[in-house]
């Protein structure tokens, strides 16, 4: 920090902002105060790794007790569960885009595959089969395939990893924008397959239910526990939190591993990385596979939470929604992406529909703000990229890359005219 005497002030400001946001999203007051305290301490002790670790543990404890301070369902906790699930997804995309620097605009494909895994193996959709594994209660008697959620999670992860690598294959020879377009094409193909899947049937079994959706999907049923209920979101919250912590752990370990360093080398300069002996094919495919796996996990969870797998969930705009989380938080920054995911979930599901929606009518304009939410995200993408490309909570190395690059970009005209003048 350049001005150490300002440290307490900045910490206090961060804490104040946290408390304000907490109250704005109707978080419990006590919990908001505790959160603000933790945020303030985190900013104050940013240079002390031991304190940072301790505060992280404090944050986890805070998150675990958080649902106890809120009603079981409705209001705050609804969005909180979604925020955690989206954070898992954003962390997956962050591996592909943030670590390896491969812009993936078709991430929705992995959401679709994960959700479909839940749709196939946790519902009565495959009506001819009668398979039950480790499920209890009503689910054990219904026709169809009913597997326990951890099994479905494993299936979703395997399917998505394979799909991620398959999607990665044609992009191996390509770079930059071409990758974006090919992944986008795959995302759209996946969306179309789900949408028109009710026309395709294999041995009397439809591929999907199209717009109508596969519904109902079993509620999550963990071994040794009661099945989850739609009206008690606390277990959902804790499960999502556990998934997030697992993914966070994997992310940190991967980032500091040999593979993670290979990804970052790839992102910074592919040619240099290849000539230093980074195996391009393997490294890229692993990035796609890992990123896809997290998307699949979250997809299976969300399918069970929303109780349906229908085609309208899998649109291009969803890929952009997740991408915006990554950009907002900071490309490649693990903490940033979590912050970005939580922020955008609240903006999308709380701020725009509930808080801001009557603003246009108050100032005499006649339109529905919820219709324009993606325009707002688009605006966010442009603003972030032009003004603060390193994101809200930047990763150090990425910041150097982006800010240096753009620094020379902004002064390109001036800088080069100086060169010309000298010449």
């Amino acid at each position: 920090m350049r001005r150490p005497e300002l440290k307490p002030l900045i910490a206090a400001a961060a804490a104040g902002l946290a408390i304000l946001i907490g109250l704005l999203i109707e978080m419990d007051t006590t919990m908001s105060v505790v959160l603000a305290l933790l945020v303030g301490l985190r900013v104050f002790f940013a240079d002390d790794p031991r304190a940072v670790k301790l505060i992280a543990v404090g944050l986890v404890v805070w998150a675990i007790v958080l649902p106890l301070f809120h009603v079981e369902a409705g209001g705050f906790i609804d969005d909180a569960v979604l925020a955690l699930a989206y954070a898992v997804m954003a962390l997956g995309l962050n591996i592909i885009v943030g670590f390896a620097g491969l812009l993936d605009l078709g991430y929705v494909a992995f959401f679709a595959i994960g959700a479909l895994a839940a749709g196939y193996f946790m519902s009565g959709f495959v009506f001819d089969a009668n398979i039950h594994v480790l499920v209890s209660g009503l689910n054990a008697e219904l026709p169809g395939i009913h597997l326990s959620f951890p099994l479905v999670l494993v299936i979703a992860v395997i399917l998505c990893t394979i799909a991620g690598m398959l999607i990665g294959l044609p992009t191996l020879r390509l770079r930059g924008d071409y990758i974006a377009i090919v992944t986008l094409a795959f995302g759209e193909i996946a969306g179309r397959l789900v949408l028109n899947g009710d026309e395709i049937s294999i041995a009397g079994q439809k591929l999907t239910n199209g717009r109508q959706g596969i519904t109902p999907v079993d509620k999550i049923d963990l071994p040794l526990l009661q099945p989850f209920e739609a009206l008690n979101l606390r277990p959902w919250f804790w499960l999502a939190l556990a998934m997030l912590l697992l993914v966070l752990f994997v992310n940190y370990r991967l980032r500091d591993s040999r593979l993670g360093r290979a990804w970052i080398a790839l992102r910074e300069d592919e040619v240099a990385a290849a000539s230093m002996g980074v195996p391009l094919v393997k490294t890229k495919l692993l990035a796609y596979g890992t990123g896809a796996a997290f998307g699949g996990m979250s997809g299976a969870f969300l399918a069970s939470l929303s109780n349906t797998v229908n085609a309208d969930q899998f649109q291009f705009s969803f890929s952009i929604f997740i991408l915006a989380m990554v950009i907002l938080g900071g490309l490649g920054s693990i903490e940033g992406v979590v912050v970005g995911a939580i922020a955008l979930t609240y903006i999308n599901f709380r701020l725009i529909p509930d808080v801001l929606n009557d603003v246009p009518s108050k100032i005499g304009l006649d339109f529905d703000l919820t219709e324009l939410s993606f325009g707002i995200f688009g605006f966010l993408l442009v603003i972030m990229m032009v003004m603060r490309p390193e994101g809200l909570v930047p990763e150090r190395r990425r910041k150097q890359e982006l800010v240096e690059g753009i620094g020379t970009g902004e002064t390109a005209g001036a800088g080069e005219s100086v060169v010309e003048a000298r010449a």
Binding site: A180, I181, V182, G375, V386, P389, G405, E410, A412
Partner: protein, 356 residues
């Protein structure tokens, strides 16, 4: 390019027995692939109906549809040629062109009852307005979203491009609402003009092809002959060298975006007349189809974009007519992926830095 050339010798060494086949597919694979749909359905038509008129109808409709895609694809290919950026918002610039056209019809008082002369003058006026509106919009996007990021990593301008695409779509929603809107059928688009051997040619077909070809010719002459065209080609080859030769690179890039936008605006008007429906989301789909066309022809190559536009138009029409419109986007995207795998440099293109 660099990665490709490194990987290639290793692969060849391993599978030298497959080399001739590999070379054959590299050369002709894409062309064979493109011929699959027409040939299959042609054979089917001959064996079932005893004539090729259904396929002929598909081809005519495909060509006129393709004319629109060609106009949009030109914008992609020019911009990519000069700044190596996929202007993701281009499809939505095209959409704004359509919306402008639909709005302007009312302003100049064009209705279905307007006479031929009045219609011609009114449409010409609308054409100019649409082209200028889309062109200026494209220049503005370049100024706001791409120029500040010119030296940033490739990811940055792409993301702002996606962002702008969404912003423009929402402008479309504010403008005409969220659902498709029908507009007056000014030219009686589907009315038959003449028929040759069972193949009908409608007003819309003639309009689309008849408006596109002069525009493309004009543009070709402009780019090959004029000073600005030469500056554009020089900048595309080597921006630094062009700057040293006294070319104002920023202005040249703006001009390229302007020309791309002009073409998209013209495409937007033709689309509105042709389809008689406008929608805020039309640009997304059109943008992807046109991008596929540009890649198919060889990105950075003007003739390639036009050729690709016509080919994609035909593929799309055949798919709409035979397989079902709901599958068309998926089929176009499958083609896109296959082009990327088989021949990233496209039909007429040379290897670019990105796709080699």
């Amino acid at each position: 390019m660099e990665a490709g050339t490194q990987a290639a010798p290793a692969l060849n060494a391993r599978t030298s027995a497959l080399d001739p086949a590999r070379r054959f597919f590299g050369q002709y694979g894409l062309i064979i692939l493109l011929l699959v749909l027409p040939v299959v359905y042609g054979v089917q038509d001959v064996s079932q109906d005893g004539s090729l008129s259904r396929l002929g109808n598909n081809l005519v409709a495909g060509l006129s549809n393709g004319a629109i895609w060609a106009l949009v694809a030109i914008g992609y290919t020019l911009v990519y040629g000069i700044v190596e950026l996929i202007n993701f918002a281009h499809g939505d610039v095209f959409m704004i062109g359509s919306l402008t056209a639909a709005g302007f019809f009312g302003t100049v008082g064009l209705t279905a009852a307007t006479g031929v002369f009045g219609l011609a003058v009114g449409l010409l006026l609308t054409l100019i307005v649409c082209m200028v509106a889309s062109g200026m919009l494209n220049v503005m996007i370049e100024r706001v979203a791409y120029r500040p990021l010119r030296n940033a990593p490739k990811l940055a301008p792409l993301i702002t491009a996606v962002g702008f695409s969404f912003i423009l779509q929402n402008v479309g929603i504010l403008w005409i609402g969220g659902s498709p809107e029908g507009i007056t059928d000014l030219i009686k688009a589907q009315k038959q003009l003449f028929e040759i051997g069972g193949v009908t040619v409608s007003h819309a077909d003639v309009l689309a092809v008849g408006a596109t070809i002069p525009l493309v010719l004009l543009l070709t002459v402009f780019i090959t002959k004029s000073r600005i065209g030469k500056a554009m080609r020089a900048t595309a080859q080597d921006p630094q060298a062009a700057r040293l030769m006294g070319i104002n690179v920023d202005t040249t890039i703006s001009t390229t975006f302007l020309i791309g936008g002009l073409m998209a605006g013209a495409g937007g008007l033709i689309y509105a007349l042709y389809q008689t429906t406008i929608w805020f989301f039309q640009g997304f789909q059109a943008g992807l189809i046109a991008f596929t066309a540009a890649v198919m022809g060889g990105i950075g190559n003007l003739q390639g974009a036009v050729l690709g536009g016509f080919i994609i138009g035909i593929i799309q029409q055949i798919s709409d007519n035979r397989i079902g419109g709901q599958w068309t986007p998926a089929i176009v995207f499958v083609y896109l992926v296959l082009i990327m795998v088989l021949k990233p440099q496209g039909l007429l293109g040379e290897e670019t830095r990105e796709a080699g």
